[in-house]
């Protein structure tokens, strides 16, 4: 087999397989409250990922200005959007800078993590 045909076959395989479903490491695309944003006390944290995530295996914590953990409800996927995670905030947040830590497991079991701040005015 010539090398040209080997490369051609490899390229063909890529595009044949790539036509099927593709999953990936779930990256945080957008958050509400916004990453680095300043907001009125929110009722929930909404995390929009690049890929679908598994709420059962995805962990989100919220650290209050003094370092204590702010109580959160269980994460759920937004109806019809497996890539959007909704996390209820159990108690109204006092003004200050909060840190969200998230660790997501995508539907293909890859896990990613991250953190960001937002400010409650």
């Amino acid at each position: 087999m010539t090398r040209v045909s080997t490369i051609t076959i490899a390229a063909s395989l890529v595009f044949i397989f790539a036509s099927g479903a593709a999953f990936a490491h779930a990256q945080l695309e957008k958050a509400t409250p916004a990453v680095g944003g300043t907001v009125a006390p929110p009722n929930e944290i909404r995390l929009e990922f690049s890929e679908g995530v598994e709420p059962k295996f995805t962990k989100v914590t919220l650290t209050a200005p003094g370092g204590a953990a702010a109580p959160l409800g269980a994460p759920t996927a937004e109806a019809g959007h497996q890539n959007v995670l909704i996390v209820p905030i159990a108690k109204s947040l006092a003004p200050g800078v909060y840190t969200v830590h998230w660790r997501a497991v995508s539907v293909d079991t890859h896990h990613t993590q991250g953190d960001f701040n937002f400010t409650v005015k």
Partner: protein, 310 residues
């Protein structure tokens, strides 16, 4: 990963008309950091992926020939942190002619990742198989290269330095030694090679520092790569010294693929003349085929230092 020996062969070989380097490298994840695949310096991890094609154009190599190279590289994980890469491709030189590069393979072991510090590293052993090149690229012996790759993201900086947290550096160091110092009447040098990249990840900025509304911009990673090669033994007369390139560019990092474009600026006349271009399309097989082609053959990782965390 593809071909430190070719990298060194190319850099050292500019004087011999071997042409510009055209490698294509992997992406990897450690903690919050995704190190994208870079075009000249290998990234510090191991993954299932395909770089196809990587196209390099040089207006004038050190011999005065114009050159276009097209190569591909496939990496298959055997264990989650041990992979084997295969790379090959073609070169057209005017004048000089056409030929396939020697087949290049590398076994690479990702031996540490400290997630909270976004710090990871790998060691590898690369072989460029002599006698597998054709045409203008034929006539070289085996080259052997032990390789060290490291990467560090700056996400662990204090939040008072938030704007610096998207920065990351990666670096590579290796020696490339010919199996035979003289082959078909030509002399082949042992070289010491090193380089680094400086990256600013807008995906990281978007997820950790401040939200970016523009869907295109938030996937970009501006980058600069620098690579050098110095002959340390058995160089032919007139080929001692250091060659290298500076490559500023940008990567668009999508979920399961990326595309990159960089300028290739020789650091001196022995490295070439004029500004070239390198571009690459890269597929992350671990993300595209997580249950088949993109899955390690064995699920259990080899020992890896994680700084106490899993």
């Amino acid at each position: 990963m593809l071909s430190p020996p070719r990298w060194s062969l190319a850099l050292a070989g500019f004087c011999a008309g071997a042409g510009p380097l055209t490698p294509a490298f992997a992406h990897s994840v450690c903690g919050d950091r995704i190190f994208p695949a870079t075009l000249n310096i290998d990234d510090p991890g191991v993954n299932d992926e395909l770089a196809l094609p990587t196209v390099t154009w040089a207006p004038q190599n050190s011999d005065g020939a114009g050159e276009t190279d097209v190569v591909g590289a496939w990496t298959k994980t055997i264990f989650p942190n041990l992979g084997l890469s295969f790379a090959d491709g073609t070169s057209w030189q005017h004048p000089g002619g056409y030929g396939w590069f020697a087949l290049d393979t590398e076994l690479k072991y990702n031996f540490f990742c400290i997630p909270e510090h976004e710090f990871m590293g790998s060691v590898g052993f690369d072989v460029s198989w002599g006698g597998t090149g054709t045409g203008a690229q034929s006539g070289s012996p085996n080259f052997y290269a032990p390789v060290l790759d490291v990467g560090k993201g700056f996400g662990d900086l204090p939040r008072s330095l938030n704007l610096l947290r998207p920065f990351a550096i990666t670096a590579q160091i290796f020696t490339s030694t010919p199996g035979q110092a003289v082959w078909n009447g030509n002399q082949f040098a042992t070289t010491f090679n090193w380089g680094f990249t400086l990256q600013y990840s807008l995906p990281y900025f978007n997820a950790h520092v401040a939200g970016i509304d523009n869907d295109f911009i938030k996937h970009l990673v501006p980058i600069a790569e620098v690579a050098f090669s110095t002959a340390t033994a058995n160089a032919a007369p007139g080929t001692w010294g250091t060659t290298g390139t500076f490559q500023p560019g940008v990567i668009y990092l999508a979920d399961s693929w990326q595309i990159a474009l960089e300028a290739v600026i020789p650091i001196n006349g022995a490295s070439g003349h004029g500004v070239g271009v390198v571009g690459e399309l890269h597929f992350f097989f671990d993300d595209i085929f997580p249950n088949s082609l993109g899955k390690p053959i064995f699920a259990q990782s080899l020992p890896m230092f994680t700084g106490g965390r899993q």
